[in-house]
C-alpha cells in the first residue's frame, strides 16, 4: 500500500512538472509577442525593453522557468513595475488588471469551488440513484421515466436550463435572489441561495451521464456470479444490491467523476456566464481575450493541478474499493 501511494505521488508530480513546462513554453510558442499585450498604451521601444527586462524575457529560457517555479515555491521580487515583492505562491503580475495573478486567482477560486463541489455531490447522488433505480426496476415505467429524464438532461444545453431556472425561480416565483457569490464563511444561507440554481443546472446536465453509466454497470454486475452467490447465501435484497452489487458497479463511475470534477474545478465558463458568477472559467476566458499571459498560464497550471489531484483521489478510491488494485 505504501509503495502504491509513493508511486501515485511520483507520477502526479511528474505530470505537474510536464504541464508547467508546457504552459511555460506556451509563452514562446504563441504568435504574439508577450510584451505588446502587457503594455496597452504609450508603447515606445524603451518601455518595451524595460518591460522585457522586468519580465526577465532576456534571460535564458531555463533561468526564466526556474525563476517562475521559485516564485511559486518561495516567492520572489518582481521589480517595482510589477508590484515589488511577490509572496509565494507567486504566479506573476498581470499588466491587464494591474495586480498579482495570485490575488485574482484567490478572488475567483472560492467561487468555482463553491459552484462545483456541491454540484458534484448533487449530480453524483442524483445520477447514481437514478441509475440504480432504473437498473433494479428494469423494463418498468420507473426505468423508462429515469431514462427519459437523463436523456432530456443530456440533450439540453446548460445555458438553456439555466435560463429557464432563472426565469422560473428568480423572476417569476421570486423564491430565490439573483445568483451571486457570498462567502460560505460570511453567510452560509446566502451562499447557498445564491448558488443553488447553478448547482441544479450542472447536476441536471451531468446526472444524465451518471444515470446511464451506473444503470449499465449495475445491470452488468447483477449478472455476475458473485451476486448469484450472495443471493444463494440467503441475503436479503438490500444487502445483495447495496453491499455486493453496488460496490462493484460503482468503480467506473468513480473514474468518470474524477475526470468531470477535476475538469470542472478548472473553470465552468458556461455556468459562470449564465448565472453571472465570476469564477476560474471567466477569469481564464477574459485572460485569453486580453492576451494576459501570466494569468492564462496560472489558470492552465491550476486547472492541471485540479485534474491531477482529482485523478489521484480516484486512484486512492479505487484502492479503497478494490483490494486487487493495491497490489499494482
Amino acid at each position: 500500500m505504501t509503495r502504491f501511494l509513493v508511486r501515485r505521488l511520483l507520477s502526479a508530480a511528474l505530470t505537474l512538472f510536464a504541464v508547467s513546462v508546457l504552459s511555460f513554453l506556451m509563452f514562446f510558442a504563441l504568435p504574439r509577442d508577450p510584451v505588446t499585450g502587457m503594455c496597452p498604451k504609450n508603447c515606445n521601444p524603451e518601455r518595451l525593453e524595460r518591460v522585457r527586462q522586468e519580465l526577465g524575457l532576456n534571460d535564458p529560457l531555463i533561468a526564466q522557468y526556474a525563476g517562475y517555479m521559485k516564485g511559486i515555491v518561495t516567492g520572489r521580487d518582481l521589480g517595482s513595475a510589477q508590484g515589488g515583492r511577490c509572496d509565494a505562491p507567486c504566479l506573476g503580475w498581470s499588466y491587464v488588471s494591474n495586480e498579482a495573478v495570485t490575488d485574482s486567482i484567490a478572488r475567483v477560486l472560492p467561487v468555482t469551488l463553491s459552484i462545483v463541489i456541491p454540484a458534484a455531490i448533487l449530480w453524483l447522488l442524483l445520477g447514481v440513484g437514478l441509475g440504480m433505480v432504473s437498473a433494479l426496476r428494469r423494463g418498468t415505467w420507473l426505468d423508462r421515466a429515469a431514462i427519459g429524464f437523463s436523456l432530456t438532461g443530456a440533450s439540453l444545453q446548460l445555458y438553456f436550463v439555466g435560463a429557464v431556472l432563472l426565469i422560473v425561480f428568480v423572476y417569476n416565483l421570486r423564491l430565490l435572489p439573483v445568483p451571486s457569490y457570498t462567502s460560505l464563511l460570511d453567510d452560509p444561507l446566502r451562499w447557498a441561495s445564491g448558488l443553488v440554481l447553478a448547482w441544479v443546472a450542472l447536476a441536471f446536465l451531468f446526472s444524465a451521464i451518471y444515470a446511464r453509466l451506473s444503470r449499465a454497470q449495475m445491470l452488468e454486475t447483477l449478472s455476475e456470479d458473485f451476486v448469484r452467490t450472495a443471493r444463494a447465501k440467503g441475503l436479503a435484497k438490500p444487502a445483495v444490491y447495496g453491499r455486493h452489487a453496488l460496490r462493484a458497479a460503482i468503480t467506473p463511475v468513480v473514474t468518470i467523476a474524477g475526470l468531470d470534477v477535476g475538469g470542472a474545478l478548472g473553470g465552468t465558463v458556461i455556468t459562470e456566464t449564465t448565472f453571472g458568477l465570476n469564477g476560474m472559467g471567466r477569469l481564464a476566458v477574459d485572460a485569453v481575450r486580453s492576451g494576459d499571459l501570466p494569468t492564462i498560464m496560472a489558470t492552465v497550471l491550476i486547472a492541471a493541478i485540479f485534474v491531477v489531484l482529482a485523478n489521484m483521489v480516484v486512484d486512492l478510491l479505487y484502492a479503497a474499493i478494490d483490494p486487487r488494485v493495491r497490489l499494482r
Binding site: D225, F226, A230, R231, A232, K233, G234, A248, D322, R324
Partner: protein, 365 residues
C-alpha cells in the same frame, strides 16, 4: 467435531416424521422451468423428477444446456419469477418450495440448501475478504450472532475444509487464494450453516486434475460428518463414478436415465448414456481408437426435436419405425428395481446392442 455447535437461533422445522412412503429429504416431482423469450418459450427443464436423501449423493449428468444447472437453481428458488415460470413440486424436508413467498425461500437459502458454484474465482466477491464472506453467510441466518462468534465460526469452517492457518487466511481476499483453496473456501461458506442439502454445480471443472480429487474427497468427508444430502452436477462421468450413489442423466431438459451408479455406469440402458461413456477415455483401451464422440450438437431448447429429443443424434433411432421421431418416450423401469430409462428400444435389443457396439469402447470397458 469437538468444537461446540453454536446455539441455533433460527426456526428450522423439526425433522419431518417419516411417512409410510419414505419421502426423501428432497423430493422433486415433474419440475418444469420455462423461460419466455422473444424467440419463443425455452423449456429448460421439462418434467423432471428425482429425490435425494440425507447422507446420499445424486449425480446429475448431461451436456451444457441439458437443464442440470437450471434444475439446481430452481431448488434454490433463484429464478426470477418475472422471466421464468417454475411449476411442479419441490419439497424440502416436507416443505413445498414452489409457490412459497420469496422471503420464506430466502430464509431457506444458505441455511437448509446451500450451493457451491463452478468457478470459485467469479463466485466469490473480489472486494471482500474470504472470511468476511463466510461470516456474512453465517450471520444472515444467525441474526443474534455477534461479529466475534461469526468470525470464530468462519475460521473454524476454513480449518475444517483443510485450509492451513485459517485465522490468517480469514483476512485474505479471493485473489490471494489458489484455485483449489478458493473452492475449499466456497465449500466452507456453503457448509457454514450446516445445510441439509448441498448442491455442487460442477465443483471441480475449473480446477487442476490433481486438485479435483482432493475436493471430491473433501466433499465426501464433509458429507459423512454433516450427514447432508448432495446433488452433484457434472458432465464428468469419472466424478460421478467416484462420489455419487445415484445418477440422473438429463438430455434436452428431460431425464433419460435414472438409477444407481452401478446400474447406470455398468449396465447403461439409454443410447445417450452409451454415447457419454464412449466419449470418456479409458486407461486400458487402445489410445488410437478409444474415443467415440456423440455426433451432432445438444438440441435447441426452443425447438426440441419431436419424439425422443435425442433421436437426431441416435444411431438406433430408425430401429423401431417412426416411434422415436413421433412419440416422447416415458421414463419406465428398465428391469432392475430403481433403474429407469426413457427409450423406445425393446429391453432385449438394448442389451444386445450395448454388448455388441458399446461395451468395447472407452471407459465402458
Amino acid at each position: 467435531m469437538d468444537s461446540p455447535e453454536p446455539a441455533r437461533s433460527d426456526d428450522r422445522p423439526e425433522p419431518p416424521t417419516r411417512r409410510a412412503a419414505e419421502e426423501p429429504y428432497l423430493r422433486v416431482r415433474d419440475l418444469r422451468v420455462h423461460f419466455d423469450t422473444t424467440d419463443g418459450v425455452v423449456r429448460a427443464v421439462d418434467g423432471v423428477s428425482f429425490g435425494v436423501d440425507r447422507g446420499r449423493t445424486l449425480g446429475i449428468v448431461g451436456e451444457s444446456g441439458s437443464g442440470k444447472s437450471v434444475t439446481s437453481l430452481a431448488v434454490l428458488g433463484l429464478h426470477d419469477p418475472r422471466r421464468g415460470s417454475v411449476t411442479g413440486e419441490i419439497s424440502l424436508g416436507g416443505r413445498q418450495l414452489v409457490g412459497l413467498p420469496e422471503e420464506e425461500v430466502r430464509r431457506l437459502r444458505g441455511r437448509d440448501v446451500a450451493m457451491i458454484f463452478q468457478d470459485p474465482l467469479s463466485a466469490l466477491h473480489p472486494y471482500y475478504t474470504v472470511g468476511r464472506q463466510i461470516a456474512e453467510a453465517y450471520r444472515v441466518h444467525h441474526p443474534r450472532a455477534g461479529r466475534r462468534e461469526a468470525r470464530n465460526r468462519a475460521v473454524d469452517m476454513l480449518g475444517r475444509v483443510g485450509i492451513p492457518q485459517p485465522a490468517r487466511r480469514f483476512d485474505q481476499y479471493p485473489h490471494e487464494f489458489s484455485g483449489g483453496m478458493r473452492q475449499r473456501a466456497m465449500i466452507a461458506m456453503a457448509l457454514v450453516n450446516d445445510p441439509a442439502l448441498l448442491i455442487a454445480d460442477e465443483p471441480t471443472t475449473a480446477l487442476d486434475v490433481t486438485v479435483q480429487a482432493q475436493i471430491l474427497d473433501l466433499l465426501a468427508d464433509l458429507q459423512a460428518e454433516f450427514h447432508s444430502a448432495i446433488i452433484l452436477i457434472t458432465h464428468d462421468l469419472g466424478v460421478v463414478a467416484q462420489v455419487a450413489d445415484e445418477v440422473l442423466v438429463m438430455y434436452g431438459g428431460r431425464a433419460v436415465e435414472h438409477g444407481s451408479v452401478e446400474q447406470v455406469l455398468r449396465r447403461p440402458q439409454h443410447p445417450y448414456t452409451w454415447g457419454l461413456l464412449s466419449s470418456v477415455p479409458s486407461l486400458h483401451g487402445d489410445a488410437e481408437a478409444d474415443l467415440v464422440p456423440i455426433p451432432g450438437n445438444p438440441p435447441s431448447l426452443i425447438n426440441l426435436p419431436s419424439g425422443c429429443a435425442f433421436h437426431p443424434r441416435c444411431r438406433y433411432a430408425g430401429r423401431n419405425g417412426d416411434r422415436s421421431r413421433t412419440e416422447v418416450p416415458a421414463l419406465l423401469p428398465a428391469g432392475e428395481p430403481g433403474h429407469l430409462v426413457a427409450c423406445h428400444l425393446p429391453a432385449g435389443e438394448r442389451d444386445h446392442l450395448y454388448r455388441s457396439d458399446v461395451a468395447q469402447v472407452g471407459v465402458a470397458r
